[in-house]
């Protein structure tokens, strides 16, 4: 194990984007309130990490919702394990997405239609009923129809046709009726 990793990321953060080297001091009531508000935001949007630099940088780390297949892209030489899961999003002001996620129940290949020339089972914007077939996930040459678990409206289709999906990967974002 390399030495570089044991000391935690506090030091990194101090010297990160702003380079302020103010000594540590107690927080005033206003700052405390601001921290409390940030903590609430972090909870509300299920963030793994949220740091606001007084010199202007905002950094959030979202909790991982399941990545894509075959994209670990780890540099072979990287000696350090991941400090936290999920991608870091610099200065992200992305609005938090509404709706609930329909996830893949197993590893396989995602198909939007029952056959290559057939129309897709569903389109974004369409309303669906509980039990309606949404897509196919092919695993071991078996075409498994994936049904909606509730009535609602499809906000977004998160996977492209014929892409590989893994267990737990989000397929559809649906607004529950």
């Amino acid at each position: 194990m390399s030495k570089a990793k044991a000391p935690v990321r506090k030091d990194e953060r101090k010297s990160s984007s702003c380079g302020c080297e103010e000594p540590l001091r107690a927080l005033g009531p206003e700052e405390l309130a601001a921290v409390r508000e940030l903590a609430e935001i972090a909870t509300e949007f299920d963030l793994a990490e949220l740091s606001v630099d007084p010199c202007g940088g905002i950094r959030i780390v979202r909790r991982q919702a399941g990545g894509g297949v075959g994209t670990a892209a780890t540099p072979a030489a990287s000696p350090l394990p991941p400090p936290a899961p999920g991608p870091a999003v610099e200065k992200a002001e992305k609005p938090v997405e509404s709706g609930v996620l329909l996830t893949s129940p197993f590893v396989g290949t995602f198909y939007r239609a029952p056959a290559p020339e057939a129309p897709p089972f569903v389109e974004a914007g369409q309303t669906v009923r509980k039990g309606q077939v949404m897509c196919i996930v092919e695993a071991m040459k078996l075409m498994n129809e994936i049904e909606s678990e509730f009535d609602g409206k499809i906000l977004e289709i998160l996977v492209k046709n014929a892409e590989h999906v893994e267990y737990g990967q989000s397929l559809f974002r649906i607004e529950k009726a």
Partner: protein, 440 residues
């Protein structure tokens, strides 16, 4: 050679296979359960696929998910590691039927060796000594005759048995019939099958095993390993070579193992396990048709990458190692487990601080890191610490030094138990058998 290998396993052995792949220029695919999303094997593989929720049945033992993961990633071979599906002949067959290479022996040999009775028969036929015993005992007369032939003490075992139930040690002939009756009753109650058989009871055996490699026609025996320090059949400390056998006995043991491996036409790597009795006779007990946890001590003394050889042999390459290779020095492996050193209760949780040893003659195979959370769903092995020296004395000194450098905070480990064992005069003198830990 394979282009891309999917590793159907987790933990240190998944990492071990990924390392061999990287050394060989083969791409690797890690699979993982949702509990292992932050695991090191996932991080260090070229590709990764989440195959299911935490329970092994739904992830690492989930055959359709594993095959599907191999299909979507375009892997051409599957390495099973050890445990999980590594000795499951049906899985090996499915892998091959789906068009992937199986990095292991032929499924029919896995099946042959997976059954105790057929394995014993096959080994006897290949000239390997087995523990003297009987087939199913029907009558008291048969039992009496068997005892006269085998000699006391004998052990009564249930054919359907396991876990010690239905087993009786007979030391005194006058108690043979009553013990036979109670063993049958226990077997009936426990396994719904009253059939029992007799075997010579080896009171203080040592567990000695032989690493074998085969290419389907020829085979070699790459030395022995001493694995007598175990608790409830779980090995804790392994070493190579064994101090319990002299050169003449070693030559005989290795020749026997090599001939048997060649006789069954075995391909890839495997291990023949033997019991050594107090008169230094060895008896075959079982064959493990996979890479083993303790393969590292053999690697240390022979200077060979066994996982690389395993993959070469699985790809159909011929054996390339010299049959008369000699070990160099002495190697010892200790298994560092996440468990209470006193009551052996598992101890999963967050590792808050970690230091692993290093320096001359020290190797650590592990998947843990500082701030890693040991999940409660899988086995408790955290790390394998392997030391090598020019002789056992040097290896032991290095092991003592290396164990002193191990720091694992946040969870309990068995490091203190290892320290007690290796400082025990009997261990240092090499005087121990499989019951050593019970007496400690």
């Amino acid at each position: 050679m394979f282009k891309k290998v999917l590793i159907a396993n987790r933990g240190e052995i998944a990492l071990r296979v990924i390392r061999a792949c990287r050394d060989m220029g083969i791409r690797s695919v890690a699979v993982h359960s949702t509990a292992d999303a932050d695991a090191l094997h996932v991080r260090f593989a070229d590709e990764k696929v989440c195959i299911g929720p935490p329970p092994a049945r739904q992830s690492y033992n989930n055959v359709p998910a594993l095959i599907s993961a191999a299909e979507v990633t375009g892997a051409d071979a599957i390495h099973p590691g050890y445990g999980f599906l590594a000795e499951n002949a049906e899985f090996a067959e499915v892998v091959q039927k789906c068009g992937f290479h199986w990095i292991g022996p032929q499924p029919e040999l896995m099946r042959l060796m997976g059954d105790k009775v057929s394995a014993r028969k096959a080994m006897e036929a290949a000239g390997v000594p087995v523990v003297p015993g009987t087939s199913i005992i029907e009558t008291d007369r048969q039992a009496e005759e068997a005892v006269e032939r085998i000699g006391l003490p004998v052990i009564i075992k249930a054919t359907g048995g396991g876990g010690g139930r239905g087993m009786k040690i007979v030391e005194d002939k006058s108690r043979l019939f009553t013990q036979l009756a109670s063993a049958r009753a226990e077997a009936q109650a426990g396994f719904n099958n009253p059939a029992v058989y007799l075997e010579r009871y080896i009171g203080r055996p040592r567990h000695i095993e032989v690493q074998v490699l085969g290419d389907g026609s020829t085979a070699i025996a790459m030395g022995e390993r001493e694995c007598s320090i175990q608790r409830r059949h779980q090995k804790l400390i392994e070493e190579a070579p064994s101090v319990a056998i002299d050169d003449a006995r070693r030559v005989e043991l290795l020749r026997t193992a090599r001939k048997a491996t060649a006789a069954i036409g075995y391909r890839t790597v495997g291990t023949l396990e033997f019991l050594l009795d107090e008169e230094r006779h060895f008896y075959f007990i079982e064959m493990n048709t996979r890479i083993q946890v303790e393969h590292t001590v053999t690697e240390a003394v022979f200077g060979v990458d066994l996982v690389r050889e395993q993959m070469r042999l699985a790809a159909g390459d011929p054996l390339r190692l010299h049959p008369d290779m000699r070990p160099r020095g002495h190697a010892i492996e200790v298994r560092i487990n996440a468990e209470d050193p006193v009551n052996f209760a598992p101890s999963p949780g967050l590792i808050t601080a970690l230091n692993l040893p290093g320096g001359p003659g020290v190797r650590v195979d592990t998947h843990i890191y500082a701030h890693y959370r040991v999940p409660p769903y899988y086995d408790s092995l955290l790390a394998k610490l392997i030391v090598h020296g020019e002789n056992r004395h040097v290896a032991l000194a290095r092991l003592r030094r290396a164990l002193g450098e191990v720091v694992v905070e946040g969870i309990k480990t068995n490091v203190e138990l290892h320290k007690r064992v290796i400082d025990h005069p009997d261990f240092i003198a090499g005087h121990f058998d499989t019951h050593f830990l019970e007496r400690l």
